[in-house]
């Protein structure tokens, strides 16, 4: 008998991908909540991972008409050991559906529908509705990198941009427009001439003269005229800068405990993930400071311990220097996030806000300040307070009290603003 063996293993396994997307879309609300929860619970190092999501069974059920409880329910069961006809068995208490005869093969009292969201989907949900502040504005206004694109035709231009096809097309149209009536005239004259036959006459000479004049007029229409010429128009289109640098500024003075640093780190991690999704190239600069600021690597940034006083302006100074040296604003989108417990030398705070307003904010796309403190506003917060009003688009600050605040604050800072 004819038969066929086909190896399908190499063919795509994503047959269900569309259905999966449909499902995720339908239960977006549930999934988003679960993702927010997960982000808050996650340890810092594994933000980029899928997540197990559970949705109440009730919300995703597909109802059908079916029997409920009650009435006379009959059932045949296997494995009788002790019963004889007429035995009476007490109804199992509590659990419905289980035990003595009600056992059904659907639903063992599972209340939640659980499934795994993969990493990509997880991040999609995590950053949904968020946008990089001011990106568009920055691109169109301040960006210096352009590319030339074709943009229609001009009547004037340099010979190198002459568009031959358009020019000749225009010329031909002009020739037809101008010559049409003359040609008609010629045709009429010729017909009349033919009708006259070979006979020489006054009329004939008259006609020949007119024909000659018409032909001359037709020949006078130029093949190509100045105003037929068309030149390609090239316009400059600003191109988005595809690299971003993110400055992480953190206070490591004695008042910053490991817990506070952890909170700060979470914020930085989120920001980094977010930038990575939007830009081709993302760099991170870590600046930590106590009385003096240093550029350090990630490990040292988060884990090394130092003590001392706090002079925030030192970090801002260093950032300014680094931007000027290494990250020209025309090719880099600059983001900065500062985390601190808000303590600072009293004298230093005004200096900080001045530095920000005068030197840093004009350079950066966005500057976020996160103050991690459980009490009321600290020194630095008060110093920065007025800046939000001056730079509502590029500066924001929020207070974070506990890990659960981080993600909402993050969303809050970057949420897409209605335009």
């Amino acid at each position: 008998m004819a038969f066929l063996i086909i190896d399908r293993r190499q063919q795509g396994k994503q047959k269900s991908a569309v259905n999966r997307q449909r499902f995720l879309k339908r239960f977006k609300k549930h999934i988003k909540e679960a993702v927010t929860d997960a982000v808050n619970k996650r340890s810092i190092t594994d933000m980029e991972r899928g997540e197990e999501i559970s949705i109440p069974k009730k919300d995703i059920s597909e109802p059908i008409f079916h029997h409920g409880k009650g009435g006379k329910q009959r059932r045949v069961l296997p494995g009788n050991k002790e019963f004889i006809r007429g035995d009476r068995i007490d109804r199992p208490q509590g659990g419905s559906g289980g035990g003595g005869g009600e056992a059904s093969n659907q639903g063992e009292g599972m209340d939640e529908f659980v499934f795994e969201l993969n990493q990509q989907e997880f991040l999609d949900f995590m950053f949904e509705d968020l946008e990089l502040p001011n990106m568009v504005r920055k691109q169109l206004k301040d960006s210096d990198s352009y590319k030339l694109v074709k943009g229609g035709y001009l009547k004037e231009g340099i010979p190198a941009r002459l568009n031959v096809v358009q020019s000749l097309r225009g010329a031909k149209a002009r020739r037809i427009a101008l010559g049409g009536s003359i040609k008609r005239e010629i045709r009429a004259l010729k017909e009349e001439l033919e009708a006259l036959g070979e006979m020489a006459s006054e009329r004939r000479r008259e006609l020949e003269y007119q024909l000659e004049r018409a032909r001359r007029r037709l020949n006078q229409i130029p093949f190509l005229d100045d105003f037929d010429l068309r030149y390609n128009n090239m316009i400059q289109q600003p191109t988005p800068t595809t690299s971003a640098v993110m400055f992480c500024l953190m206070d490591v003075s004695g008042s910053m405990t490991q817990d506070i640093k952890d909170l700060a780190k979470r914020f930085f991690v989120l920001l980094h993930l977010f930038l990575k999704r939007h830009y081709k190239k993302t760099e991170v600069v870590f600046i930590r400071h106590h009385t003096k600021a240093d550029e350090v690597d990630e490990e040292e940034f988060f884990y090394s311990r130092e003590t001392g006083g706090t002079v925030v302006s030192s970090a801002l100074d260093l950032m300014k220097t680094i931007v000027q040296e290494r990250y020209p604003t025309d090719s880099w989108n600059i983001y900065a996030a500062q985390a601190s417990d808000g303590e600072n030398w009293a004298d230093d705070s005004p200096k900080c806000s001045e530095l920000l307003v005068k030197s840093l904010l004009p350079l950066v796309q966005y500057y976020a300040y996160v103050e991690i403190s459980s009490g009321k506003e600290q020194e630095l917060w008060r110093a920065y307070d007025g800046i939000t009003d001056q730079f509502p688009d590029s500066f924001a600050m929020r207070n974070v009290k506990e890990p659960a605040d981080i993600f909402p604050v993050f969303r809050d800072l970057f949420v897409r603003k209605p335009t």
């Binding site: 396994k13 059920s61 019963f83």
Partner: protein
């Protein structure tokens, strides 16, 4: 000289081919199994999960519920809560069987015997499949369905189509004519006539809802009820009569209905189909061993798998989840063979028709002419009842305790057989709901009637939800009267604004 097909646990394409050939030879020569041509497809576990989520259809239209199915399968498989089936077989011509690449060679042989010959011959010969499905057309029809639905999504939006499919799926089980054989699906005809049908249908519906006053004579006749007789095929009724559905919506209702019809035989022959396939893989594998085509190691590995397949946990086991159709079906088919070959006095008394008859003729006859319910009624012998230690219970909410009504003794055999048959009778297991009346000249509301059997009511929550779906299709008020004997027990209502229940004790609003 060794005739061994293969040794070891790694399968090869050559071995699959040899197995197919050898098993096919025994199946047709020795056992007269009539099969469609086989198409064996090797797939990975990921692909198996894909196949699962589309309920085994090689091509399906897109719907979120399949995504849900996929996610839950994936989750449970990754966690090790479930294994995937070794195979999946589709009732089509050629008969497509999916084999997992992870299977060992023994398992592949088992699966070829089970699916490519067991299920395959069942699909080809059982009367329900012959009457209800057209194996050669199903794949093409599914393709037509998917393209049509994709086109609708483009034209009318994914969400609109999805809502419509949700509603159709809710009523899918009520989309078959239980007592009438349907016309087989034929996709070419389907496509050609679809356009024609759209126009024609719309005209007919419009005619039904015509508001132009009728002549007096017509009016007198018009007082007869509509539908003249209760209709059990809800989806069909909606497709033909729902006043406001667009032609493309009617076509989608029809697609869901056709697919429901395709599945209907499968839902009614679970025990027989699996039993038949298990019975044959057991016999065929043993024959391979007897002919020296497989080693002792292979047959032992096979027996181990076979034992797992037919394992029936007892009712009080934590693994119990209903009667295993593989176990029951295998036991009954094996018992038919036993009664034919070695009948006891009891068998001669109880099954005189086939005790001592030719066993192959008898099992073929049983396979071809029965469905689960009648199969159990006809062939469940006391021997099988004793082996499985079956007993019947009755949970009457008017009684203070559950009572045992029958066990495996002389008084119980007949009753157990009837009750087990009932348990596999779809028309008794599913709620008996029919279209009772449509107010043609009133508010266009539709009234359904549910006849309670043994005072078993409907599940309130799901009934209300399902009614909303019906309302979505009908677009006018929908009522469902649940009838207990002569009395109205509960009435479910669904209007544009709300869903509620009128029970004997006041009404509960949703």
């Amino acid at each position: 000289m060794s005739k061994l097909i293969a040794e070891g646990s790694e399968w090869t394409f050559q071995a699959l081919e040899d197995f197919e050939r050898e098993i096919g030879r025994i199946a047709s020569e020795k056992y007269r199994l009539d099969t469609y041509a086989n198409q064996i497809e090797i797939i990975s576990s990921d692909q198996m999960m894909d196949a699962y989520s589309s309920t085994g259809m090689p091509i399906g239209y897109h719907h979120w519920s399949y995504g849900k199915q996929f996610l839950s399968t994936e989750q449970r498989y990754r966690k090790g809560q479930i294994g995937l089936a070794y195979e999946l077989v589709i009732n089509s011509d050629p008969c497509i069987s999916y084999l997992m690449e992870e299977n060992s060679m023994t398992l592949q042989a088992l699966v070829i015997a089970h699916a490519c010959f067991g299920h395959n011959s069942f699909f080809k010969s059982n009367y329900l499949f012959r009457e209800w499905t057209d194996a050669s057309a199903i794949v093409n029809y599914l393709l037509f369905a998917r393209n049509f639905i994709a086109e609708c999504e483009e034209r009318h939006g994914v969400d609109t189509v999805e809502a419509l499919l949700d509603s159709c799926h809710a009523l899918m089980n009520l989309g078959v004519d239980r007592f009438r054989r349907p016309r087989p699906i034929s996709p070419e005809e389907e496509k050609e006539r679809q356009k024609e049908r759209e126009d024609y249908l719309q005209r007919q519906v419009n005619d039904l809802w015509r508001t132009i006053p009728k002549t007096e004579r017509e009016q007198d006749e018009g007082h007869s009820r509509f539908p003249p007789e209760p209709q059990e095929n809800l989806l069909y009724f909606v497709e033909k009569n729902a006043p406001l559905l667009e032609p493309w919506e009617r076509e989608i209702v029809r697609i869901v209905r056709k697919i429901a019809v395709y599945y209907y035989p499968q839902r009614q022959t679970k025990v027989m189909n699996e039993g038949w396939a298990t019975f044959w893989h057991y016999n065929l594998m043993n024959d391979l061993y007897d002919e020296g085509l497989i080693t002792e190691g292979t047959i032992l590995e096979f027996l181990q798998s076979h034992t797992n397949v037919v394992y029936q946990p007892e009712y009080d086991s934590p693994y119990y989840s209903g009667i295993n159709p593989y176990t029951l079906g295998f036991a009954v088919f094996s018992d038919i063979r036993r009664v034919c070959e070695n009948p006891t006095e009891e068998d001669k008394r109880l099954c005189p028709e086939y005790a001592g008859a030719d066993w192959l003729d008898t099992v073929h006859h049983a396979m071809a002419n029965y469905k689960d319910e009648s199969f159990i009624l006809q062939y469940l012998t006391p021997q099988v009842i004793r082996d499985l230690k079956l007993f019947a219970i009755m949970d009457d909410d008017a009684d203070s305790a559950i009572s045992v009504t029958a066990i495996h003794d002389d008084y119980g055999y007949r009753k157990l057989r009837e009750e087990l048959a009932d348990q596999h009778n779809l028309s008794k297991q599913e709620a008996d709901i029919q279209v009772w009346e449509v107010a043609l000249r009133g508010d266009r509301s539709m009234t359904l009637r549910h006849n309670q059997r043994d005072r078993i009511p409907l599940d309130d929550d799901d009934t209300k939800e399902t009614l909303k779906h019906l309302h979505h299709l009908w677009r006018f008020d929908v009522h469902l009267e649940s009838q207990r004997g002569e009395n109205l027990h509960r009435v479910y209502h669904c209007t544009d604004e709300k869903v509620w229940i009128d029970a004997e004790s006041g009404s509960e609003t949703d």
